[in-house]
């Protein structure tokens, strides 16, 4: 049972017009592992996540979650199965207070039944706990502010909290650190490490490699929608092709 990979992606492809955004990508990841996806802009990282979570339908290929085919299911169905994602561009509910943002995932059928009662403010306590987990101070007034007035770094953390609130088994994170300050990144890395320690599976797209490599134990490198390298973080970055993709032909000889 345990040798069934939690996520198995088979020959996944999708093109937009003439552009092959994702072209025949296959990989698998075991339970409790953390994997990074890196690659230059436009290499198909975000499309890959969109394909896995159902926000974009694949032209070809299949996605298996715990051995079950979830290809082409609606995004909310995939989320209720336990695959959650964060967005690169934060998508909070700007008109609600911060902690009320988490009421919405807590209302989904995946976690709804676990909360007692629940029509009028019964989920507030769970929401506050989740916010505390990702680094909102409970005693500050931040959780009660209108979300629109929050600094960007906190919105990113709120994205993370939304993912965690669904009690996921597999979390796909799309460039969490972009737009965060150095200190915010430093305080977020331990949270990610803790998620992996708790046995959840993590897939991260990230451009900040130093922080990424602290969390993940395997990396795949994309370019033009194809995997050009995969393996342990340190080894992958030594490969000539990877340096070329990131820095260009001349750059790779300089670096």
């Amino acid at each position: 049972m345990s040798d069934v990979p939690i996520l198995k992606v088979q020959n996944l492809s999708r093109s937009f017009g003439g552009v092959k955004a994702v072209n025949g990508i296959s990989f698998e990841i075991g339970r409790g592992k953390a994997m990074g996806i890196v690659g230059p802009n436009g290499s198909g990282k975000s499309t890959l996540i969109n394909l896995i979570t159902g926000f974009v339908k694949p032209d070809k290929g299949a996605v298996f979650f715990k051995g079950e085919n979830v290809t082409g299911l609606k995004p909310y169905k995939i989320a209720t199965k336990g695959i959650v994602r964060s967005f690169q561009q934060v998508k909070p509910f700007y008109n609600l207070p911060v902690f009320k943002n988490l009421i919405i995932p807590l209302y989904s059928s995946r976690v709804k039944s676990k909360l007692k009662g629940g029509s009028f403010g019964h989920r507030d306590e769970s929401a506050m706990q989740l916010l505390e987990e990702v680094g909102f101070e409970r005693d500050s007034n931040l959780p009660y502010k209108i979300t629109g007035s929050l600094p960007h770094g906190y919105l990113k953390k709120l994205e993370l909290a939304r993912c965690l609130s669904l009690e996921p088994e597999l979390i796909l994170i799309d460039e969490l650190f972009s737009g965060m300050s150095m200190s915010e990144i430093a305080s977020t890395v331990p949270i990610l490490e803790k998620i992996v320690e708790e046995g959840k599976t993590l897939i991260m797209i990230e451009h900040r490699l130093r922080e990424l490599f602290r969390v993940v134990d395997k990396v795949i490198v994309l370019n033009f929608g194809e995997i050009i390298a995969e393996g342990a973080p340190d080894q992958v970055m030594e490969i000539e092709k990877v340096r070329e993709a990131y820095l260009g032909k001349e750059g790779s000889t300089i670096a």
Partner: protein, 341 residues
């Protein structure tokens, strides 16, 4: 000179801060601060029909129309709060009106049966009509809603079903005008406070989140089209009720049930009262409808005056009357000199 060296400062009143939390129940003054506005609203609205008796037959009729428009505005506001902007609210109104009219005409049923049935089945039909286009957002959804009442109107005209252009007349009516007025006022109160309640429920938060960002709601594992359909049903209820009610009030239903004014009045009332606010919706309807009726004496010039009022509100009070009043109630303003501490 003086204007440039002073600025306006707004601060919450002390009593607002004290009444914000559970401590509000510590004194009668704070309780009154919270409860009195609602209480006065209820008393006023219950007294309206009695006062209307002195104003004459004509104005009694206008009270009913005002409540109809208020219900439509509430219905529009509920859909707006879920991000479903409707430019054709007449479709819900008309569907409710025709279902009630048809049941009364064909089977001779009393309003006691036809109105509840028409309200619920009309709202369900409305939700069903819109289900295929629910994944559309903003202006695209709005455009489709704009077309639907026109479509229904032409359908009835062309096929001649449901009385065709002549409509259905001599339907059952209410026992008396007073009873009718009080029925609609009670329903209005239920809808206002019901919607306010839904708004603050966790269920209501999910609906409001859909308006903010539906992709994020998908990612949160929630079946967005299903919730939108539910919102459409809940939102359509007051509109279909209003239609069914007016059918029995006039003892007639015709193609005018799909008329443009039932689509436009709710939107303008909402703008005047404060878009997205339920009390504002009622306030807007209660100002706009009597105003529009009293301008009837000016003939076609009333459209011009009516437009001027709208322009004034959009330019000077875009946040709406209710938010303005709310601000005055909760906050005080003062002029403070700039540059001094």
């Amino acid at each position: 000179m003086k204007n440039s060296s002073y600025r306006k400062e707004r601060m919450d009143r002390g009593i607002k801060a004290r009444a914000d939390d559970i401590f509000a129940i510590s004194s009668y003054k704070e309780i009154a601060y919270l409860v009195l506005p609602r209480f006065l609203f209820i008393v006023f609205i219950l007294l309206v029909p009695i006062l209307g008796q002195y104003a004459g037959h004509y104005w009694q009729g206008i009270i009913v129309i005002t409540c109809i428009i208020a219900l439509l505005t509430l219905s529009w506001t509920f859909m707006f709060s879920v991000g479903l902007i409707s430019l054709g609210h007449a479709v819900f109104f008309g569907v409710g009106a025709y279902i009630a009219g048809w049941m009364s005409f064909e089977f001779g049923l009393s309003p006691l049966v036809t109105i509840p049935v028409a309200t619920v089945s009309g709202a369900a039909l409305g939700a069903l009509l819109f289900y295929p286009v629910l994944r559309l957002r903003g202006i695209y959804f709005a455009l489709i809603t704009f077309a639907l009442p026109l479509f229904m109107m032409r359908l009835i005209e062309a096929t001649g079903y449901l009385g065709g252009t002549a409509g259905l007349s001599r339907l059952a009516s209410f026992p008396s005008r007073m009873v009718a007025t009080y029925i609609i006022i009670l329903v209005l109160l239920i809808v206002v406070f019901g919607y306010l309640r839904i708004q603050d429920m966790d269920y209501g938060l999910v609906l409001r989140a859909i308006r903010d960002n539906d992709l994020s709601v998908y990612a949160a594992g929630i079946n967005v089209p299903l919730f939108k359909a539910q919102a459409l049903f809940l939102g359509a209820l007051p509109a279909t009720f209003a239609g069914a009610f007016l059918t029995h009030h006039y003892r007639f239903v015709g193609m005018t049930a799909f008329a443009l004014e039932y689509s436009m009045f709710p939107i303008t009332s909402a703008v005047i009262g404060g878009t997205g606010l339920y009390p504002g919706a009622v306030l807007g309807a209660f100002l706009l409808t009597p105003l529009s009726e009293s301008l009837r004496a000016f003939g076609t010039l009333r459209i011009a005056i009516y437009s001027l009022v709208l322009v004034f509100f959009i330019l000077r009070l875009p946040q709406g009357l209710f938010r303005f009043i709310q601000r005055k109630y909760h906050q005080y303003e003062r002029w403070v000199p700039i540059g001094k501490e």
